[in-house]
Each structure stands twice: as structure tokens, then as C-alpha cells.
Point group: C2
Chain length 179, copies 2
């Protein structure tokens, strides 16, 4: 993987038919979503989390492992999902958020803390932090005592609804090759 | 419970300190969020779902139990969470969606299908459907063959962040008594 910030998707919303291209655009252009973990009692817990993929297709997050249930849950159980609504992008027109033509995507996988002791991961962590702070300057400089650190979502399943048709599951390889 | 549509909260955003009053306003004024279930492999799954509480504080949804993972998961495992961002209300100003002053709420509990054979539940289902269709006219008239039906969230925990302070857990009794 090349950690260069020029990897960005087209600005214009792509047509809905190519699910992989549409998904890459959707993830790249979204600035926040709901990030889920599962707690010790088996309940899902969803938090509103800002994200950036820096053009790579991988969602990155900045989480506290000390005061935030999401970060604390993730260290015990990495099973996760990150869900985005096109409503947040303002490109749904008059379509209701639940109406299929207003796109929604659920990215399932494992939410992982970067292992900064491994050189390759360290490069990725630095890239991800730069991408997050570029898109979300308000996240920069948060208290060191809160143990904020970069997490990534290792994708396993991509569920996409973006037209009047059954939901589609986008193959992970297609997603990463789409750009 | 009285099923009258006049039970609505104040229009203006309340100050953040009274967590129960703020939460009722937040839930009542939100039109969509991410509704989570847990699948058979223990992964959380979040879907973008429109909601209405009809002024009662109870989030109601219109879900398919035939083609939608959320409805299908819910019938097997009711553990759920419904998460809202104040960003969607447009009242966060320039605050980043993850910044604590931009409110977020995670409503945890069980997502349940109305039992229309029980008279009281039947009244509630009719009320909920009317409230949903009033706020989301595009949900009305969806194909009967998709088994769309009303679900509710039976609240167990309310996690609220709406100011520069630790997250608060709003007692359920306080929440329902707040109006």
C-alpha cells in the first residue's frame, strides 16, 4: 500500500450500478457514521464517529480506549460495523433516509488499533492520523490522558443499498480494485 | 399510555444540562438514525432507519422481516441499539460530528415487533404506524409482500453526550417523566 494522500475518488456522485465504484466514492466522501461494537452482555453499541479513509477505502477512526465504550469494547471484541447514510452527504434530494434511492452502506469487519511497534503499521498509523486530522481538525490535540489512538476497520462484508433493487454485497476485492 | 399525537416536545433545542429533557427533544426531533442488531456470527449490523416516536419517547420503526437483515436479525435476537447524531438535525453549527458539543445518543434495548393480537399492542401499533407515516410519507404503501411491520425499541440504557463532559447514562424513568 502506498500512503499518499493523492488517492482520492471522483468528486461527482457516480451512477448507482457499479456497486464497488459507488461504495468507494461513498466511503471517501463521508465524514462521519455510526461505529458499532458489541458489549460484554452481547448488546450492540453504536457511537457517532468521524472518519477518513485518506483515499484508501479503509475507514480510519480516532478513539479513546479509556473513557469511550467504543474503544474499550473494541479491545475486547473487534467485531464491528460502520454505517453511513447518503443523507449526511446532502445528495439524496427529497428522498427519505430509509428510501432505497438514498444510499446506505454497512461496512462490517474488525475494528483494530494500529500496532505502532510494527514498522509498516506505524507508517499506516501516521498516514491515517494525518488523514483524520486533515478532514477533522477539531479531533487534533485531544487530551493525551484520554488515550486517543488510531483504529482501522478491516473489512469483511460490504452491504450496499443505493437503488430500487435488493441490497448488494460488494466483494472486498472489487471494492479495493475499484480505484 | 395515551396514544395522542399532541405529545410533542418543545421546538427549540433545550440547554444541555438536563439530560432527560434534552434526550426527549433529541429523539422526538430526529427523523433517522442507525438501528443495530446482532447477526448469527456475533457481528453487529447497522442499518439506516427512519423513526418516529409520536411524542412518546419510544422509537418506532417500519421494518421488513423478509428482505432486510435488521428485521430478520431482530426476530432471532432482539438486542439492539439506535444511535442518533445531532449533525442530522443541523443544530451543531461548525462542531465536528465527533466533538462532544455536537450531541449523540445511543438508545440500547430490545427491538420488538408489535403483537397485534393483543388489544393494547394493537392500539400502539396503529398509533406508531400513523406517527411513522406522518413523518415519513415515503414509507407508506411499501409492498405488502415484503412483510413490512412496525417495531419498537424497549429502552434499557440511554447513553448521551451533549457537552464537554463525560458521557451520561440517563435513567429510563427520568426520560419518560421528562415531559
Amino acid at each position: 500500500m502506498q500512503y499518499i494522500t493523492s488517492l482520492i475518488t471522483a468528486t461527482a456522485k457516480p451512477p448507482p450500478d457499479n456497486a464497488a465504484v459507488f461504495s468507494r466514492w461513498f466511503v471517501n466522501h463521508s465524514s462521519w457514521g455510526v461505529l458499532m461494537t458489541v458489549d460484554g452482555q452481547g448488546f450492540p453499541f453504536g457511537n457517532v464517529i468521524s472518519s477518513s479513509d485518506g483515499g484508501t477505502g479503509i475507514p480510519y477512526f480516532y478513539l479513546s480506549t479509556l473513557y469511550d465504550p467504543t474503544g474499550m469494547n473494541a479491545l475486547k471484541n473487534s467485531k464491528s460495523c460502520f454505517t453511513l447514510s447518503e443523507t449526511a452527504l446532502g445528495t439524496c434530494g427529497q428522498a427519505d433516509p430509509q428510501f432505497p434511492k438514498c444510499a446506505k452502506i454497512a461496512l462490517s469487519g474488525d475494528v483494530l488499533r494500529e500496532l505502532v511497534s510494527v514498522e509498516e503499521d506505524s507508517k499506516e498509523a501516521a498516514f491515517a492520523e494525518a488523514a483524520l486530522f486533515a478532514n477533522h481538525p477539531q479531533l487534533s490535540g485531544w487530551p493525551k490522558g484520554h488515550n486517543f489512538t488510531v483504529f482501522k476497520l478491516r473489512l469483511k462484508n460490504i452491504f450496499l443499498v443505493n437503488k430500487l433493487a435488493p441490497a448488494r454485497y460488494v466483494p472486498i476485492d472489487d471494492y479495493f480494485k475499484a480505484i
